[in-house]
């Protein structure tokens, strides 16, 4: 059994980042790191090697798909869960084709945020998410 130790949340919107951070921090035993700038996030993922990356899809300069494909291009197997404000089917398909581990629409209630973070951590504890 693997314990989820660190999560890196990448979102250009500080509010989204705040909610996600709050939700994951509330799970206990999880180190949460947040990054607003995708280019810096890429560097941090390479060096800090988080156990899980939560990646926003729509970001200026470099979008989530690009970040993901750069990671996969480098052979980085870190599990990546994509988060987006709107789950358009073509975006979901593209994300899985690029190599994400999951795709979630950003929740609209605190309860859903907690449920999302809880589910991710729970799955992790059961070893259902791949580790690198």
């Amino acid at each position: 059994m693997t314990k989820l130790a660190s999560v890196m949340i990448v979102d250009d919107n500080p509010r989204c980042l705040e909610f996600m951070t709050l939700a994951f921090s509330a799970q206990g035993g999880v180190t949460v790191a947040g990054e607003l700038r995708p280019a810096i996030a890429l560097e941090r993922i390479r060096t800090e090697k988080p156990d899980l990356v939560l990646l926003d899809v729509k970001m200026p300069e470099i979008d989530g798909f690009t970040v993901l494909s750069v990671l996969r291009g480098e052979g980085n197997p870190v599990p990546v869960v994509m988060c987006s404000g709107s789950a358009l089917q073509k975006d979901v398909d593209r994300a899985y084709a690029t190599g994400c581990s999951g795709y979630v629409e950003k929740p609209a209630t605190l309860e859903d945020y907690r449920a999302l973070a809880g589910a991710v951590v729970e799955y992790w504890r059961r070893g259902e998410l791949p580790n690198h």
Binding site: N13, R15, C16, F19, K58, S84, G85, S86, L88, K106, P107, A108, T109, L110, Y113
Partner: protein
């Protein structure tokens, strides 16, 4: 099966209407001059035009005057004018019948000089019947056009014979041999122009259309005229030479027909190729615009959802903080709510700017309004058919704009009118173009449910939707229209003074174009 867009489209005809009135007056005036001066003052040159040619008979001139007046009345829209027209046409037919009867009497007496010859009488009779049919059964337009051609063709043959062969070969037994040159010209003029181009038949309107069909018919016209003219001339030339055989005449005419036919097909293929190029260009442009729109819609959804979601989430956090009596955090969350709400107008402005940028690369060209209407209505044939609607273009103008984008504007406006029609009456969309000194103005007016004044104020905002008229139409249609019109440097507005239906008008500036 889906009908052609022409079924629902009525193109402007006023200019050509008045021109047709002038033609009718022209025919009547010539006949009146022959009757009044030629016979009233016994001025022989008026009777024969060219010395030695057969004269126009007074009975023929009188019948032409009746027909001319009848046609003038038939061009008026009122019911009374139509009845007057029919009465005059009926009188003309009656007069011709009377002439036929008196002709018989005269023939027995051996002098047919007083009455017109049979070919003229038949043509005049056909003219009267054609006007009666135009007034009461315009649906049989092919029959009417056929009658006009039937009457005009022998007269055309006579005109060519007299003009090119100075009196034509004398054939005593021919039905045409005593037809006057001006009688023949008047028959061709009246039948070929006044009857065939009569607006009730729609043939003239179709020929004038800026559509592919119109262009095609215009290209066909010279050939349609040239084939019988060349055939008649060759026939007349060979008829003068007694040795030439009928076989040779046939072979010659077949060669002329085949050569002109081949030329026509070649010319036509060039037209279709040009049209295809234009259509491809337009469709590529439209799909680029659609792509931008799709991107815009997706971006709008994504960007606007975020602050709305944040307000909800911070609201929940605020509630929880208050429950805990945690005033420090409560204040923080309340501020976050205010800031999130504050972001929304900024996002909307940004989206508007984005959508505008999709249209900034306009490709101006000189286009006819009818072409744009045709294109827009063509995209909506099924809907117009379902709505039993009719689109009328009141005035034609030529303006400088991006044809694909302006077609999108008209398409959006027509679609709005269709969606907001009233179920208790057939939909009528009236489109008008006015060329002013500094700008072109185009209006689209319908007899539908009209705009709610409250909605009219925000109708052009891309996010104003659902509250409009019947609520079926998404506001993005009008927002798109405004974006495109603004990209052309123009303005669009809803006429709020309009109470019976809706009226949207937009202007485009006339820069350094001659247009109009």
């Amino acid at each position: 099966m889906q009908g052609s867009v022409d079924t629902y489209l009525q193109m402007p005809r006023r200019r050509y209407f008045s021109a047709l009135e002038l033609h009718a007056v022209g025919v009547g005036t010539v006949a009146a001059i022959v009757l009044l001066i030629g016979y009233g003052f016994a001025f022989e040159p008026m009777q024969t035009v060219i010395p030695g040619f057969p004269p126009m008979r007074p009975g023929t001139a009188f019948a032409f005057m009746l027909l001319s007046l009848s046609l003038l009345a038939s061009l008026r829209p009122s019911r009374r004018a139509k009845l007057l027209s029919s009465a005059l046409a009926f009188a003309a037919v009656g007069w011709v019948v009377n002439l036929v009867i008196s002709n018989w009497g005269a023939e027995e007496g051996g002098d047919a000089m007083g009455g017109p010859i049979q070919a003229s009488l038949a043509a005049l009779m056909l003219g009267g019947v054609a006007i009666l049919l135009i007034n009461h059964a315009p649906r049989v337009r092919l029959l009417i056009a056929g009658m006009a051609l039937l009457a005009a063709t022998p007269a055309l043959y006579r005109v060519l014979g007299l003009l090119f062969f100075w009196g034509a070969p004398p054939q005593k037994d021919s039905l045409l041999s005593s037809m006057a040159i001006h009688t023949a010209v008047l028959i061709v003029w009246f039948m070929g122009v006044c009857i065939i181009l009569h607006p009730a038949l729609g043939i003239g309107a179709t020929i004038q259309q800026a559509s592919l069909r119109g262009r095609l018919l215009r290209r066909a016209l010279p050939f349609i005229v040239l084939v019988p003219v060349l055939a008649a001339v060759s026939g007349l030339v060979l008829a003068m030479d007694a040795r030439s055989s009928l076989d040779f005449l046939f072979a010659l005419n077949a060669t002329i027909g085949a050569a002109l036919g081949a030329g026509f097909v070649l010319w036509l293929s060039q037209l279709v190729a040009t049209w295809q190029l234009e259509a491809n260009e337009r469709s590529a442009r439209l799909s680029r615009v659609n792509e931008a729109l799709e991107q815009y819609a997706s971006s709008a959804a994504h960007d606007l959802k975020a602050p709305a979601r944040h307000v909800l989430l911070y609201g929940e956090l605020l509630e929880e903080a208050i429950d805990r009596n945690d005033l420090v955090n409560a204040q923080k969350y309340a501020r976050a709510i205010r800031e999130s709400a504050h972001e929304m107008p900024k996002i909307i402005d940004g989206m508007l700017e984005f959508s505008t940028s999709a249209y900034t690369r306009i490709k101006p060209a000189d286009v006819f309004l009818s072409e744009l209407v045709q294109g827009a209505a063509g995209q909506l044939v099924a809907e117009i058919e379902k709505a039993e609607g009719k689109i009328v273009l009141l005035h034609e103008i030529r303006m400088r704009c991006d044809a694909a984008l302006m077609t999108t504007v008209l398409q959006n406006l027509i679609a709005n009118s269709i969606a907001n029609r009233r179920r208790d009456r057939p939909l009528l969309i009236r489109i008008d173009g006015v060329a002013e000194d500094a700008r072109w103005m185009v209006s689209v007016e319908d007899n539908g449910a009209g705009f709610d004044p409250a909605f009219a104020a925000v109708a052009f905002n891309p996010l104003a939707r659902g509250s409009k008229r019947t609520g079926e139409v998404k506001g993005i249609g009008l927002a798109t229209c405004r974006t495109i019109v603004q990209a052309h440097g123009g303005e669009i507005r809803i006429d709020i003074g309009m109470t019976r239906g809706a009226r949207v008008e937009f202007t485009l500036p006339r820069q350094d174009t001659k247009g109009g």
